[in-house]
Symmetry: C2
Subunit: 264 residues, 2 copies
DNA sequence: GGCGTTCCTTCCGTTGGACGGAAGCGGTGT
DNA sequence: ACACCGCTTCCGTCCAACGGAAGGAACGCC
């Protein structure tokens, strides 16, 4: 599947390997470090990094090291599933934050993981595991369950049959359990992850629909668990998701307000 | 200077040309469009785009077109001058927004242009020209003047001697005038752009200092001009800039609060 | 001061991957 | 049915990418 599956390194794959060498822990690297992490000969890394830096995809810092450059960020700011989505959702996320003063998440699905597009956190909030641009297994979090429940059937099957990483004693750990939870999420329209990532945290998530009426993202709110009831958060999260869907132009969000979906 | 100055197209430069083919107006392109915009033969574009899409730098949408991918955005989220800066500044920007409910900008300097890192806008705000990830000439805006005034001397000279694009009758249009304004900005610590981009808008900007006590960014607030006085905004903007500088670990921001810099 | 280490940069002969014209394919409009 | 447009695949040519090697600069240790 990958371009370098046959051990045939192309120039493009090397360039991408260089970008991949950077991580949240290592945002600044020397050429030598890049060459090691990307598995490239020093002279090759030197040449490619030079070209990338010249264009602005990488930048040199004061010490001579390289960092991800502004120019790359400018291009990335055009990603529809990233900043463009964030832009539309921001007002609603701020409302959600104002209503609770807890952690608010906006994420999309990529494979079996969620990628956090935006995060608003309480100043002195509970320990936050998420990071904008960061990833997390979908089966554990509120946003992840909301996204997975509305994903392609074969993707769901891959999640159900695949290994499920365990974070706490309450993390969903078996396929049948995940299948049951996903069905429940589809029935109620919201996903609740109670103590499945951290024992003392609770997350309520809801799917966000795009113009073609498919689920494109999910919002969630994460709160400390003694002190909040999941039931109390369901209406605001659902309303926020509807608002974002409407802003994105989802037909579904324009229809009858909360009748068919509302159970009980 | 450029890698392709000698008309020697390298693979890396072609890959970057492909990324460059995307713009704010055209966020989705077909292979044919990419090949035209990047000036590449179709088969070459096809091969390179395929590799980029395989890695995740580009993504296919429902219609078969290509968009900037999430994976690229993840890497770009590591840029110190982008998201990392934004993260530290966000609480202060929100305070600034709460205090005025007008447009708040955070930007950095790249050449003679500013690049907007973050923007908070009033829901039904005045017409907004800026865009996150967008560029604007530095000599006209509040953020731009604040940044330029503290930039390298030779960069300032390039701005002063270079052509100055005019937006309104009040846009700074001559070198000597710009030189005078920049000196004024350094003296007062704030930059005021009154009607220099749009006739009925006023902007007050202040520099943000990094750990090494150099100016790394600028904050500004943009308000409609009949209804606001620049003088009234100076304290909040300055306080916000100081707050962000402190959050970034600037020694300067820890020193005596507002004595030496405060004039009158 | 001498020496080892580490990292950056440049050079250049070899070679294998990038190149792109051409042809085939599928969809759409007239 | 034909023309058009865009996507995809193929394959022989050739030149740009490759990377080992050597030189150079900066730092730290004995």
């Amino acid at each position: 599947m990958t371009a370098r599956d046959a051990g045939r390194p192309t120039v493009t794959s090397r360039v991408l390997d260089i970008l991949e060498a950077f991580s949240a822990e290592r945002t600044a690297l020397t050429i030598t470090q890049i060459s090691r992490r990307a598995g490239l000969p020093l002279s090759t890394a030197h040449r490619l990094v030079g070209e990338l830096a010249c264009w602005g995809a990488l930048e040199r810092d004061a010490g001579g090291g390289y960092r991800v450059g502004l120019r790359l960020w400018e291009v990335a700011a055009l990603a529809p599933r990233g900043p463009a989505l964030r832009e539309a959702a921001m007002p609603f996320l701020e409302d959600l934050y104002e209503a609770t003063h807890e952690n608010v998440h906006l994420a999309v699905l990529d494979g079996l993981e969620v990628v956090y597009i935006e995060r608003i956190s309480a100043r002195a909030a509970v320990h936050v595991f998420s990071r904008v641009g960061g990833r997390w297994p979908a089966h554990a979090t509120g946003v992840g369950l909301a996204l997975l429940a509305h994903a392609d059937t074969d993707l769901q099957e891959r999640a159900i049959t695949g290994p499920l990483r365990r974070f706490t004693g309450r993390t969903i750990a078996t396929g049948p359990e995940l299948r049951r939870v996903l069905a429940e999420v589809r029935r109620t329209g919201v996903a609740i992850s109670d103590g499945q990532v951290e024992t003392f945290a609770l997350s309520v998530g809801a799917p966000v629909y795009g113009p073609d009426d498919t689920v494109v993202a999910a919002v969630a709110i994460v709160v400390p668990t003694p002190g909040w009831e999941a039931r109390a958060l369901v209406p605001v999260v659902r309303a926020s998701a509807r608002g974002i869907s409407r802003a994105l132009g989802a037909p579904r969000a324009l229809r009858s307000p909360e009748t068919a979906l509302h159970n009980r």
